[in-house]
């Protein structure tokens, strides 16, 4: 126990200043009312859905939850079920084998809800494109509020996209 406490004290706090929303990532006008957004802004529950990515975007979503970014201080936390979620964070391209699971996850998320597509593939289908096995971009399957490009987008970009989704006009 002593060595753990010593290591914690030696490390100190590495969390960096919080990023700001990036409104340029919005795909559609804000649909939710200011009242709803004020609630979300203080306690946003996110369900991540990997709909067919190469797992590169997942690496950066994991990194978002590391101590440098610490999204929980912004009221953002990742939850284990779409039924607990306000926002779906979806990586793509959406494989045809995940199309139904993604639609069902979207349907299981209670209204009002938001969707943020992550990565070049989530935004456009990326290098995989559309084919017999890939539906391409996330918005080909479910409505998308914010899309964050990058291969993969860095943690700050992902957080700026999430914040843009809950930004009050």
């Amino acid at each position: 126990m002593y060595t753990i406490l010593k290591q914690i004290a030696r490390t100190g706090i590495v969390t960096e200043p919080a990023p700001r929303a990036d409104p340029s990532l919005r795909q559609v006008e804000q649909r939710l009312s200011e009242t709803v957004l004020r609630h979300f802004g203080r306690a946003l529950a996110i369900r991540h859905v990997d709909a067919g990515s190469c797992n590169g975007c997942e690496l950066e979503i994991h990194a978002c939850n590391g101590p440098h970014y610490n999204p929980e201080r912004l009221g953002i936390r990742f939850v284990a079920s779409p039924r607990h979620a306000d926002l779906l964070l979806v990586t793509g391209p959406v494989s045809r084998n995940m199309e139904t699971a993604l639609r069902r996850t979207y349907d299981a998320t209670p209204e009002p809800k938001l969707v943020v597509a992550i990565g070049d593939c989530g935004c456009s289908g990326g290098i995989f494109g559309e084919s017999y096995a890939s539906c391409g971009r996330v918005s080909n399957v479910i409505p998308v509020d914010v899309a964050v490009p990058g291969c993969p987008p860095e943690p700050v970009a992902i957080l700026r996209g999430i914040l843009a989704a809950i930004e009050v006009k």
Binding site: N55, A101, I127, F128
Partner: protein, 505 residues
Amino acid sequence: MKDLLPQAERLPGPLPAWHASTQDLRPIAEKLRAQNARLVALWASDERTGFALHVAFALRAGLLWLSVPLEREHPRYPGIADLFPAASRMQRAAYDLVGVHAQGGADHRKWLRHGAWPAGQFPLRKDFEPASAFEPAPDHYPFIRVEGEGVHEIPVGPVHAGTIEPGHFRFSIVGETILKLEERLGYKHKGIEKRFEQLSPEEGARLAGRVSGDSTVAYAWAYAMALEAATGAEAPARASALRGIALELERVANHLGDLGYLGNDVALTFGFFQFWRLKELLLRAHGAAFGHRYLMDFIVPGGVARDPDLGGLAEVLAYIKEEVAVLRAIYDEHAGAQDRFIMTGQVAQELAAHLGLTGVAGRASGQDYDLRRDHPVPPYHVLEVQAAGHIRGDVSARISVRFEELAESLRLIEALTAGLPPGALRAPLPGLAPGRRGCGWIEGWRGEVFVALEAGADGRLHRVHAHDPSWQNWPALERAVLGNIVPDFPLINKSFNLSYSGHDL
């Protein structure tokens, strides 16, 4: 190799690899099994006049790639899953994608095909249009049921409760104890191998780097090695050394992440935050040196894309080395964590050998194979890589292997950086002559990544097969969890940390 197959032809390039066409798959496979050869990959291709089944084996001398011509009307071959159990799912995938049929008591359930294309359609046949779209159909998959008093099932996925790739796990349990686990994968199948055929050989490198993002360096290198062998290009010495540095950095980054999550999964969140702090420092150093946090698109056919500025890296790596030593002592002495790690999710040595377990998980179960040591290509030929190992085959052994490999990778990076030769970064890539073939085989952080490449008559990519070590290790996970309790599944799963994308293609 000549004793086994007189017609075997050495493929060009630094890798000791041979190719042979044969009709005697079964006798050769039996002989190889008796010699303790390992199955590396099995795939199929459409040769227009007929089909071909391809099997790659790891022998003591190197890699043997067999091609078995199959007739057009009823393409079939004798299955080899009884000799090499890992072949079973590969045979099923080869049927789903190309329509070649394994005979002889093989499992014929579909594997990569869910509802996206109907039975009787085979996406990797040349007459299959890549943009075909079919009405999605439900995926009726015949799971094997366990019955008896008190037995019940827990279906998990494809959408999981964390930031994890999609796949389905069907647990049959009594109380908390797992009686059976059956995996259903293929959810991420996004047509990667068909996509290769639409790309130029150079463009294929970008796609190869996105087969499994966490192993982008290993795949980009394996693809480059395959294309270089097929075209006769040779990467300059400086490029080889930089490739080695990149591959070891990828190993360090992934092992740091896994060690953090393994702490997290036994409620030692301290471990998660400590290791992820170190991983983030490394990723930032990658960004500063290579222009990308995961080193994507750094390795290109012929060499590397740019000259990284390695100045700042040494300091970060030295710091990581010190901190990891402190954290290893804390993990080792933490009674609560060790209680969860030790004897959890065990794969005994004999079972590991039978199933062909590879990579980190294989070495933790006494499978003493490491391509960097066994078949070293430049820059590894002068480094005398020390392979890590353990025999207990439990979560604790897989953690131990990661700690040891992390330390060895840091040593290798230091040696490679100190001896970095001057010179060119990239050799010109000659055109891909019709009918040429090459393969790449790389010890990625997870295990052996293999890429086989064949040129078509038009000098384009006729067939590219990318093989992830997860093919070998997923079936072993089904065995590792038996008799364990359900709450230990996330821990056991994480200790393997297998790729879904790399497997589903």
